[in-house]
């Protein structure tokens, strides 16, 4: 395949955009925790970039995108250590250097793993989480990426459409988050103690960075700088708008207040839902998908109170549930006018695609939940995954990192509630 310089430039730019989502997520989450835990959130999100990138180069990438070992279940070791960088990625007909593709995919693994910090916020051990993260990339993320993102994977061959990671990234993160918090246990005091965000300005800054970076995530997944990338880019933006409107409208109806956190959360919900769909649906439907996700997200974040699992920053509600909305929406809204890859129910494609998408949802959620629970349990029993109670009470910033974010405990736009 000849190298296309435009495609290559676009993909490398998108690689940087996707990386930028990790610090974006750090601020999005960092603002939502109390001020005594904010540095732990930033530290986990930054450290995970390094851990996952190294693991990805050593063996993660090749497990996901190496030559299939059989049955579309796992890739072989041909690309271990990023060896054979000139060799084509099995099943893909790229106009970019394979190593640029490998690095683009590296950032997806980074951001997906970083999402889990939000579920275990305020109580995870730094060392335990990093060990967990390395294992999780190898045992959960890489196999799922092989099944779905690699064209030789078994779900891809069954016709599952997942443009940029509704299953591999979002549902995976949501189901893994649920398993993780069930192993970790609730925070001390949850749910009766108020654990309100300490700095919504930081959260909004983070949400803005995520929105910006998501253009790279979705439009970059076109793997070329053409029509498909343009459609994915506009759909991404419109879904974020729809999500924001859906969340805020329904919350206003319920409480008579439109909240800042609601606007940020709605935009993220829309972005999550359009992730699998960005390159398969048209612009108007992207708004609808975003709106549905915003509405679903608002209701989904309450599930943790009803069922008693302490998913601190709503990774299950926002990423898991809205990931399901988006993945199923492909089965409804996918259209040949955007992409010949598949047509959903509303484009006259019948229920076949919807069934395949539902299979993808069940497989991704089930596999991620079971294997993540096993990893979390193993780490909990060996290194330890949860801090001691007195450290949780003092705050992870001082207890774990020997630092504090703010003098006098107030904070960046904080309402002075570190206690």
């Amino acid at each position: 395949m000849p190298i296309d310089t435009g495609d290559t430039a676009w993909l490398m730019l998108c690689t940087a955009l996707v990386l930028f989502m990790a610090p974006g997520l750090a601020f999005f989450y960092g603002g939502m925790v109390r001020s005594k835990h904010v540095l732990s959130m930033l530290a986990q999100n930054f450290a995970v970039i390094a851990v996952v990138s190294v693991v990805w180069v050593v063996v993660g990438y090749t497990l996901a995108f190496g030559p299939d070992l059989g049955g579309g279940l796992l890739g072989g070791l041909h690309f271990a250590g990023f060896a054979n960088p000139q060799d084509a990625v099995p099943g893909l007909h790229l106009h970019v250097p394979p190593i640029a593709y490998a690095t683009f995919q590296m950032m997806f693994a980074v951001v997906t793993t970083a999402l889990l910090t939000g579920a275990g916020a305020d109580r995870m051990r730094f060392s335990g989480f990093l060990a967990f993260a390395g294992l999780w990339v190898l045992l959960v993320y890489a196999p799922l990426a092989h099944w779905v993102f690699s064209p030789v994977g078994w779900l891809a061959k069954r016709g599952l459409l997942d443009f940029a990671g509704g299953t591999v990234v979002e549902i995976n993160a949501g189901a893994s988050a649920l398993a993780l918090v069930l192993v970790l246990g609730r925070r001390r005091g949850w749910p009766h103690d108020a654990m309100a965000p300490h700095s919504l300005p930081l959260t909004l800054l983070g949400a803005g960075i995520l929105w910006f970076g998501w253009f790279g995530f979705n439009a970059g997944s076109a793997l070329s700088a053409g029509d498909l990338a343009a459609q994915a880019l506009v759909s991404t933006h419109l879904a974020a708008c729809g999500g924001l409107l859906g969340w805020v409208a329904l919350e206003w109806r319920a409480t008579r207040h439109a909240t800042t956190l609601g606007a940020a959360s709605g935009a993220i919900a829309g972005l999550v839902a359009i992730t699998p769909a960005a390159g398969y649906v048209n612009s108007a439907d992207a708004i609808v998908i975003g709106f549905l996700a915003g509405a679903a997200g608002l209701y989904a974040v309450r599930l943790k109170f009803r069922h008693g699992y302490d998913d601190s920053l709503d990774v299950v509600g926002v990423h898991g549930v809205c990931g399901v909305v988006g993945t199923l929406a492909v089965g409804l809204f996918a259209t040949h006018t955007v992409n010949r890859a598949g047509r959903g129910l509303f484009d006259g494609g019948g229920l076949h695609l919807l069934g395949t998408q539902a299979l993808g949802v069940v497989v991704a959620a089930g596999y991620a939940f079971v294997v993540t629970a096993a990893i979390a349990f193993a780490v909990q029993r060996t290194i330890g995954l949860r801090v001691a109670d007195h450290m949780e009470l003092q705050g992870l910033d001082r207890a774990v990192h020997a630092e504090t974010a703010y003098e006098h405990g107030g904070g960046f736009g904080s309402s002075n509630r570190s206690f």
Partner: protein
């Protein structure tokens, strides 16, 4: 001399300061504090869930004034900090033993 301590609603400070300046109050210290009184706390909404916040943000003003001015200052504080709704705050006085200006070493009312 008396130390006057006033707990007021944060957004009333812009009215309180000029009212006190007119009376010849030469300085004050303002601290952000939180607490509760009859107002109890308030409710905030995050991601659809209501949180009972048990302490309300207030400002604490502290100023030392000459005994002769205490009543006038109290009156000015009450009239400038009052909204008429619950949570307007409280004011109390404490006798001051000694007062020293750090720069000059002046003592007593000279240091005011």
């Amino acid at each position: 001399m008396q130390l006057i301590t006033a707990i007021i609603k944060p957004f009333m400070l812009d009215q309180v300061r000029p009212a006190l300046e007119q009376l010849g109050v030469y300085g004050m210290t303002v601290t952000e504090v939180s607490g509760f009184g009859r107002q109890k706390g308030h409710t905030e909404i995050y991601r659809g869930a209501e949180y009972q916040v048990s302490f309300n943000p207030k400002l604490r003003l502290e100023m030392v004034v000459d005994d002769a001015r205490v009543d006038a200052v109290l009156d000015a504080l009450v009239s400038s900090a009052r909204t008429g709704s619950i949570g307007d705050g409280k004011i109390w006085t404490t006798p001051v033993g000694a007062l020293v200006r750090v720069r000059t070493g002046e003592r007593g009312t000279d240091a005011l």
